[in-house]
Symmetry: C2
Subunit: 144 residues, 2 copies
């Protein structure tokens, strides 16, 4: 059970944007450099984040990306879901009809618990929480 780089890179990019939320559009190239992510790959991730309504883009010279909402309005589960997809511990968790046993399957119940535990953590954390924490620990902006 592993997180994809999509999600990890995406969260870091979002956090970089959150740090710079008040400084106007931030260019992809800058984020890519600071976060050690291939610019071309990050481009794809930004497209996903954009279509999920989490960032807005400004094209052309002096363009870049900005968060679509306040950092305290963006929860990690949103970022996670659009990049990583749903937390599907098992097919039967998403789809009740997948198996005839779903109604009272003991194993399914565990997978549901696992999913819920993950969601709880992600849902309870906003980008703001993370930038606050970073500041508190005196990290320079680029070290997110």
């Amino acid at each position: 059970m592993k997180l994809s780089t999509r999600t990890r890179y995406g969260v870091r990019a979002m956090l970089d944007l959150a740090e710079n939320a008040k400084k106007g559009p931030l260019q992809l190239k800058i984020i890519a450099q600071r976060q050690d992510i291939s610019a071309k790959y990050l481009e794809q991730l930004m497209a996903i984040l954009k279509s999920a309504g989490l960032v807005r883009s400004i094209r052309g010279a002096k363009g870049g990306y900005v968060l679509a909402k306040d950092p305290n309005q963006i929860r990690l589960n949103q970022v996670f879901h659009c990049l990583e997809g749903p937390v599907t511990t098992a097919e039967c968790v998403e789809n009740e009809d997948y198996c005839r046993r779903t109604a009272d399957c003991a194993v399914r119940h565990v997978w549901i618990q696992v999913r819920q535990a993950i969601e709880d953590v992600l849902q309870s954390t906003t980008l703001q929480d993370l930038t606050d924490k970073a500041k508190e620990q005196g990290m320079p902006d680029y070290q997110i």
Copy 2:
């Protein structure tokens, strides 16, 4: 973020063994049939479970598999780990040296929380818990 069939099949096989813990060796073919798993594939999974010390095998006619320990001594995290591998939400969670920021990285902290949440659920559930639950709900043995 998805569970592999390895893990899902493996847990079901283990639970089937737990249900039949007192009836002597259970043959792979029977488990495969009852659980709708390719026998040849399950064979590989049982090899993993065996080398992890979770099941024992008896070769030859009338052979089969039995749990290596009491159902209440086998926790799901053990089964999970040997089949799914460690819960590596991010490389830096396992390996402190992976990134220069690990010491106080806010993102890393979230991934650690996620991992812990998963482990807590799995660690708190034994095979016995699951078979009890199944019985409580009056499921026939084969419907695990």
